[in-house]
Every structure is written in structure tokens, then in C-alpha cells.
Symmetry: C2
Subunit: 224 residues, 2 copies
């Protein structure tokens, strides 16, 4: 665990305090960590640190369609919003693979927030998230599909919300999941991805997207 990028988003002393206050649990593939509508004090609810596995943050609508907001990788913290503002969960969190998860109960989290260093770390985490979301919101309103695809791939390569040490070059996710994040159909995305692959920017495989040229992707984001 000492080698995880936890380091970057949480000072050592506070990280160890969380470890002491929390509980390490194992979650099997497909199980849900929390659900839309869960109140703050739901059983097993709290602030989470993802040690191993990947987790999907999504929401389901009446018509059965699903919006995937994020796919989190090890080293990310999540679930703090509900603990801060007291509102119920607004999304579902589902384990895409088996997880090792640190669960910090609401009371322990509140206790930690009385530590000014911890509160600052949380603020920094949230600031990074706001920045990323501003970017994604801009996407929807301003950029072409091609630029949105490029931008989202780079965000995913960064390992989502919180900053990460190194970029991931190969993303293991089906095109359908990416399509759901972008709000387009699988067919439309498939066409765009293949166009990018033809240009050598990406390489595609079964449930796999390889980023060949980060520079080219970044250029696509900038030029709209």
C-alpha cells in the first residue's frame, strides 16, 4: 500500500489516521458499495479508499439507461461528498472487479475533519474534482465528439478525479462503457474510435483501448 499513489492526495500522518480509524474489507465482483438514495448512516457507509480493484460510479434512470460518471482505479478516495453535506448518495458504486477497500465510518471522518491538515487535503481533493468536472461540462457544451473522446480518454488515463503520478497507456474498458460516459451510442463511438485508430492515435482490442499518442490526443482536445 505504501507504493500506491495515495501519497499524492493525502499527507502521511492523516493517511495513517484513516487506516487506524477505518476497516479493510473485501468486496466481491459485481457487489455494490453504496446505492443511490442511501442515507449517511447506511450500514457499511463512509469514506472509502480504493486499495485494489476498479469501481464504477454510475446512476440508473427509470427507463433503465445508465450513466457512468467515473471508473475509479486503486489509489483513489471517494464517497466524501455525502459525509460533508449530509445528503444521501446520488449515485451507485459497483465493483467491476473484486475490491480491497478501506472504509472509514462517518463519525471517524467527521473527527478527522477537525484536523486542519486533513480538512485542507479534502478541500484540495474536491478542488481537483471540481476542476475535472468543469472540463467535462465544457466538453458537452463546446467540443466536437472527436475532442470529447480525446479528452475523456486522457481523463481516464490520469486515473480519474484525483491527481495521479503516471498516466495509464492502456485502458481496460468496453466501448459501451465509454459511450455511456460520453452520452453517445456504442455505434457512434465505435466509428470515431476506429477513425482515430486509422490515424494511429489509438490501438483497439477486445475491451481495451491503447493510447498510442498522448500528444495527438491533447492536440485534439485543444483544437476543439
Amino acid at each position: 500500500m505504501e507504493r500506491n499513489p495515495w501519497f499524492t492526495s493525502m499527507p502521511r500522518a492523516q493517511r495513517e489516521a484513516l487506516l487506524g480509524a477505518g476497516e479493510l474489507i473485501h468486496v466481491r465482483r459485481g457487489a455494490m458499495v453504496f446505492r443511490q438514495g442511501d442515507p449517511i448512516h447506511a450500514a457499511g457507509g463512509g469514506f472509502y479508499g480504493l486499495l485494489a480493484g476498479t469501481i464504477k460510479i454510475s446512476s440508473l434512470r427509470q427507463d433503465g439507461r445508465e450513466a457512468i460518471l467515473a471508473v475509479l482505479e486503486p489509489g483513489n478516495w471517494f464517497g466524501e461528498i455525502t459525509l460533508i453535506d449530509g445528503s444521501p448518495r446520488t449515485h451507485d458504486a459497483t465493483a467491476l472487479e473484486a475490491l480491497d477497500l478501506l472504509v472509514v465510518p462517518p463519525e471517524a471522518f467527521a473527527q478527522q475533519m477537525r484536523d486542519v491538515v486533513f480538512a485542507n487535503a479534502i478541500a484540495a481533493m474536491l478542488a481537483a474534482r471540481v476542476r475535472m468536472l468543469y472540463g467535462l461540462t465544457e466538453d458537452a457544451t463546446l467540443r466536437s465528439l472527436r475532442a470529447r473522446v480525446a479528452h475523456r480518454l486522457l481523463v481516464l488515463a490520469r486515473g480519474d478525479a484525483t491527481q495521479s503520478v503516471q498516466l495509464r497507456r492502456t485502458l481496460m474498458l468496453p466501448q459501451e462503457a465509454l459511450a455511456m460516459m460520453l452520452g453517445v451510442t456504442r455505434q457512434t463511438l465505435s466509428k470515431e474510435l476506429n477513425a482515430l485508430a486509422d490515424e494511429g492515435v489509438l490501438a483497439l482490442g477486445y475491451g481495451r483501448i491503447e493510447l498510442r499518442s498522448l500528444d495527438a490526443l491533447q492536440a485534439l482536445v485543444s483544437t476543439g
Copy 2:
């Protein structure tokens, strides 16, 4: 100022500390408070409290198109992200009307962040913003145009990011501005707004949108 909804997002003692540490300035209509790319220590940069006037947060792209992220009303704080993570501004802030603005310099903001109550207030502010942005991101990927329109109108009625005491029933903004927030053309939006007006949910005027039935709008958001 004591009657502004500042109360809701910042405890009294911390609010007064900001007043003491900051400077009240007047900004004329059309002037920019900060620009995309401005570094943290740009002249006049800092954390802002909007006392009077409205301000537009937007970004401009190479092709000249503009994305409006938010239109802030009095009682809102903004500009904290850059001070927290040290990155340059990612957006432009332009005065739509003459402003009364409290400017808290970066050093004073950093000083305040050593106060655990203040840091918690900032975290709560950011959490509310993340929550709102999650909602807007979901819009783009999941909801119909009609539902997106309804949702955005409600968000604007709430006076944007931070929570507010009362809803605004009449929004003073041209359809084109709303279209830019939603990422559709003025024509498409006009058609949709008029359809909603025909149903009695809205009333339209020159540069004005009146929310006749908040319940109906809320229902549209829920049903997708």
C-alpha cells in the same frame, strides 16, 4: 450585506475575518475580474465574494465560440480553486453588470485555511459544487433536451453553485446565453422554450424567462 445569503455558506466569524482581510472594490460593467491562464498571484487576484451585480464564468475557444459555465448572483463566493491547487485560472470571469466585490488576496486566503472551521466551510462549498456538476454532467450524457433545459433553469433559479435561501422565479438572461450553457443552438432552444411556454410551465419575454411551475420543471428533470 448582513441580509445576503452569505450566511448559509460561511460561518459568521470566518465571514468577518474575510471582510477584514479583503478589500471591497467596484468593477464596471464589461470588465474582467480574471482571465483564463492568469497565475495565482496575478494583480487583483484572489478569492472573491460577490456583493452586488452578476458575473459570468465562461471560456473562449480558438474558433471564437464561448461556453458559459455559470452566471453568479450576489451572495456567492468564487475563485477558490486556483488558490487551493495553485494552477492558473481555467476560465474568464466577466462582469455582466457593475459589481461590488470583496477581494481576498491569496496570502490571506491561505492564512484563513489554517482555521479548521474555515477549511470545513470551503470543503462544504466545494462539495456542493461537485454535487451540482455531477448533476450537470449527467444531464449531458443521459437526459433529453427538455429535461436538460428544465434542470438548468432550476439550477439557475437556485442562484448557482452554493445553496441559496430562496428560488428566483424570473431569470434575466437571453436565450442565447442559456443555449451556450446547454450546448445547443439558439434555434433549438427557442423551439423547446416555446413548447414549454405553450404548456404554461414558463413565460417568456425579451431577455427574460419566468418560471411558472417549479413543480412541473422538477417533474421533467426526474422523468428524464
